[in-house]
Structure formats: structure tokens, C-alpha cells
């Protein structure tokens, strides 16, 4: 592909030069935070680490991690509302965003205009790699609000020169009609919502999503686009290529699937340093094929730095380089889960994404499902609710057999299964809550 890279030098930099760049940039952002953030200085002073101590990757591994709970503790204080991690005068903050609060009280995120340019730059790497070009008309069916989500995707697409259509407060039907009216060529949304849109178009509007002009979809916010069976469902529904991407409010847009669709995502190693930490030993995993949790540094973000942030995302390095020629490493299968999502049921470690992979892989089952874990006495119970597609009632036994077999193979658990009519389980527009662990309430 001609002009394959947003930055042809950086994206093909030899590994040793890329590593040297990361260490130099880490030292720079560490020094910035040490000089300008009371929170970071006290954290590093307590560990006995000063900027001049950062010379190698091993030195970086020794820098204390930052947990989301630490950010919660320092916020809602002066300089209000960000507290001691703010590195610039308040009057230089131009953007406010906050985390969704899925795991507790939301964290506030200040950005300067330079940081916001940087967000758009991160997204420019992503969209260019996925084949977005100035000729694209990009529809964004996102409720523009305090969550960063596709705000930065909007600005990144603009930076590329695309024509951006904000699908803000429109409902799903109106969004589909607007896509049809304007012949939009690309779209960004959560995988859950993209599937829901296809469902609405087909079943409530009599419009085949494939007949619309969307040829590429960038998904974020959930692991779905990295789960092969979910990705396949979306691609088949829309007749479009689907690309995975991962980012977070406190971090930035740090990874992307390129146009070659390598069943994984590139880490943007020019703008981020990713380390993978073994969940049991806490040691850094360099070799491919071993899962751990991501510790990440945004190398150029200034207002509220993100330095060795414990993201809780579960990832592993891919042993293979990508056919696209980028030297940015791949994480295999994208973000496969979160360390705080993985739970033990009946003594077996369970990642909810494994259930999604099974359900979405069985023809005849709808896109939605729900998992409920509870406890009777000392015994865990796990129930799975699925939807049967119209016209498949006579295949129920066969479908149930496949479901039981695949769940046993992929998750090593037996479930109390229940089958429901199409469109009877809850639908979600942003992040889905399909996994309910009621044991915590007991």
C-alpha cells in the first residue's frame, strides 16, 4: 500500500533505536513530572528515585507504579478538581474528561491544548494505519459528553483530512438514516453498539446494513473487535472491515490494529512505553506468549502525566512481526481481559471474554447474552442466558449441544443454560454489563 504509514520513519525504526527513543522520552516525562507534580515527586522521593537515576529499561522497571485508586485519593482537592498531579497552571487546562467510573469513583483528566493535539496525533496513527484517508466521510455515532471515547477519534479524523459527521444526540434509527443519506464510508463505535445498530437496521427498519456504504469500522471501549467470532459477526453484518483499537482516558490511544488485520494490535511504541507484568511474580515479561497485566507510560502527555500506570489490562506479546512492516510490536489478540474481571468460579479462573467468544461463534444464537454468578451455601453457580434467533427453535437441541461442548472446552465450566426469545435480553449503547457476579453482594 502506498503511503502506508502516518510516520514512515518512526513506524519502521529499528527496534534498538525505538528502545533508545523510549528510554530517552521516559526520562524526559519523568523529569517533567518530578519537577511539576507534588504527587509524583513524593512518590518517587519515597522510592529514592530521581530523574538522573533513569538510564536503562531496568531503571524504569524500578519506578513505582500508579494505580487508579491513587488518582482518586488525590483528586477533588486543590488545584480543584485535579489535585496534586496537575503539572500546569489551571488556566492552561483546556479539556476536561473523566473515566466512566466502572470500577469506582470516576477519575478526572485535565488536558492542555498541546495534550489534546497529542490525543488527535495518537488517533492519526490509528486511523491512517486502518486505511482512513481524506476521501473518507466518517460517521461518529457517539453521545459527545464527559467521556473521551470518540472525541479524540473525531479530532484525529479531522487531522487526517476526513470529513467528520458527528452523530451525537441522534437515536439509532436516525443515525442509520443519516449514514444512508450521506453515504458515510467509515464509522467508530463500541462493538456492542455496532452490532446493535445492525440489528436495528435489519429488524426494525428493513435495511440491510451491508447495503449502506460503510466499508470500515473502528471499534473501541470493549474487547469485542479483538474476539474473532464477534469481529466476524460485525464484518458479516456490515460488509465492512472491522478494526480493533484500545485506549483509556488516563492513558491515551495506545494501540491499534492495522489494515493487514494481524489478529492483534500494534502498540504505538513511539508515543507509549508498554511493560507487561507477571500477575504472580510481579516481574516484567519480555518474551512472547505469556500473559500479564499492562503497565503503561504515555511518553509525551503533560498536564496529568501517565507514568507506569497499572492499567489492569491483560495482554501478551505476539511472537510474530506484522506483515505491514511496522516495527511496533503486536499484542496477540488485543486486550484479552482485565485483571479485575478475571474471577474464580468453582475454583476455575474465568475470563468473561471467553464466554463471548463461544456465544458469538454459534450460528443460531443472537448477539446478546448474560452471565450471572452467585453462591448457594459454599457452592458457586454460574448461569448463562442466550437468545435464539428467529426460525431456529427447531434446532435448539443441536445449538444447546454445541454451546455446552464449546463452553466446556473454552472455560472448563458447566453452566445453567436458559434460552430466550430474540431481543429479550438487555441491549447496551456503550459499555455492556453482561457479566454479573452476585457473590460480592452476599
Amino acid at each position: 500500500m502506498k503511503n502506508r504509514y502516518w510516520n514512515p520513519i518512526l513506524e519502521t525504526l529499528p527496534r534498538e533505536e525505538l528502545r533508545a527513543l523510549q528510554i530517552r522520552k521516559f526520562k524526559r516525562i519523568f523529569e517533567w513530572a518530578y519537577e511539576n507534580s507534588r504527587f509524583h515527586r513524593s512518590l518517587y522521593d519515597a522510592a529514592g528515585i530521581k530523574p538522573e537515576d533513569i538510564r536503562s529499561l531496568d531503571d524504569i522497571h524500578a519506578v513505582p507504579k500508579v494505580e487508579k485508586s491513587m488518582m482518586r485519593d488525590i483528586q477533588r482537592k486543590d488545584p480543584f478538581p485535579y489535585g496534586d498531579a496537575l503539572c500546569v497552571p489551571l488556566e492552561e487546562v483546556t479539556e476536561f474528561r473523566q473515566t466512566s467510573g466502572t470500577t469506582g469513583q470516576p477519575v478526572y483528566q485535565p488536558d492542555t491544548w498541546q495534550d489534546w493535539e497529542w490525543w488527535a496525533e495518537c488517533w492519526s496513527f490509528i486511523l491512517w494505519a486502518q486505511g482512513y484517508r481524506p476521501s473518507d466521510r466518517v460517521f461518529i455515532p457517539f453521545g459527545y459528553n464527559v467521556f473521551v471515547a470518540f472525541w479524540a477519534g473525531h479530532y484525529g479524523a479531522e487531522k487526517l483530512g476526513c470529513e467528520v459527521v458527528p452523530g451525537g444526540v441522534l437515536d439509532t434509527k436516525a443515525r442509520i438514516l443519516k449514514i444512508q443519506e450521506l453515504q458515510a464510508t467509515a464509522m467508530m463505535a463500541t462493538p456492542t453498539y455496532v452490532l446493535g445498530m445492525a440489528d436495528t437496521a435489519r429488524n426494525k427498519m428493513g435495511i440491510d446494513p451491508k447495503s449502506l456504504s460503510i466499508n470500515k469500522i473502528t471499534c473501541a471501549g470493549e474487547p469485542g473487535a479483538g474476539i474473532p467470532t464477534t469481529k466476524k459477526r460485525i464484518e458479516e453484518a456490515w460488509g465492512a472491515k472491522v478494526f480493533d483499537h484500545a485506549g483509556a482516558t488516563e492513558i491515551g490511544a495506545w494501540s491499534f490494529e492495522c489494515a493487514d488485520q494481524p489478529h492483534g494490535m500494534h502498540v504505538n511504541e513511539g508515543l507509549f512505553l508498554v511493560e507487561i507484568e507477571d500477575l504472580e511474580t510481579g516481574k516484567i515479561i519480555e518474551e512472547p506468549g505469556k500473559r500479564g497485566k499492562m503497565i503503561i507510560t504515555a511518553l509525551d502527555r503533560q498536564a496529568q502525566p501517565c507514568i507506569r500506570f497499572d492499567s489492569k489490562d491483560i495482554i501478551e506479546w505476539d511472537p510474530e512481526p506484522c506483515s505491514c512492516g511496522r516495527t511496533f510490536r503486536l499484542i496477540k489478540g488485543g486486550v484479552v481481559g482485565r485483571s479485575d474481571d478475571i474471577t474464580k468460579v468453582k475454583g476455575v479462573l474465568l475470563a468473561p471474554s471467553a464466554i463471548e467468544e463461544v456465544v458469538r461463534g454459534i450460528e443460531g444464537l443472537g448477539d446478546e447474552f448474560e452471565v450471572v454468578v452467585d453462591k448457594v451455601g459454599d457452592v458457586d453457580r454460574i448461569a448463562l442466558k442466550v437468545e435464539l434467533m428467529p426460525g431456529t427453535e427447531n434446532r435448539r437441541e443441536e445449538i444447546e449441544g454445541q454451546l455446552v461442548d464449546q463452553l466446556r472446552i473454552k472455560t472448563n465450566l458447566r453452566y445453567n443454560l436458559s434460552f430466550h426469545g430474540c431481543e429479550t435480553l438487555p441491549r447496551y449503547e456503550v459499555k455492556a454489563k453482561r457479566f454479573k457476579d452476585l457473590r460480592k453482594a452476599h
Binding site: 520513519i9 525504526l13 533505536e17 489534546w116 496525533e121
Partner: protein
């Protein structure tokens, strides 16, 4: 990619940065200039990330 003259781009970006800083220094009482030059400086920083930082690696 051999036709990309990174050294020259780097020099031009650094010149641009100096020029923007000069305008910024002259615009303390001139919001229309200062706010616009601040935005331009943020864009120049993105140019630095994409070029100057890399050339230093070579």
C-alpha cells in the same frame, strides 16, 4: 522513504519553534495573537514528536 530529508525537516521545525516563541513573547497584550500562537505551538510540538525527537536518535 529515501527522499525524506529528515535533517532539513528538523532544522525547519526548530526554526518554526523559535519563530513561534518570538511571536508569543510579543503578544502578551494581544489575545487574538497569543491564543492563536499557543495553538500553533501545540502543533509544532507534534512536529517535534514526529521528527526532531527521531533525528536525535540517528
Amino acid at each position: 522513504m529515501s527522499d525524506i530529508d529528515m535533517a532539513q525537516i528538523q532544522n525547519k521545525v526548530l526554526s518554526l519553534k523559535e519563530l513561534a516563541k518570538d511571536i508569543n513573547g510579543l503578544s502578551k497584550e494581544f489575545p487574538a495573537v497569543q491564543r492563536n500562537i499557543n495553538r500553533i505551538m501545540a502543533s509544532i510540538k507534534m512536529l517535534e514528536i514526529n521528527t526532531v525527537d527521531l533525528v536525535q536518535e540517528k
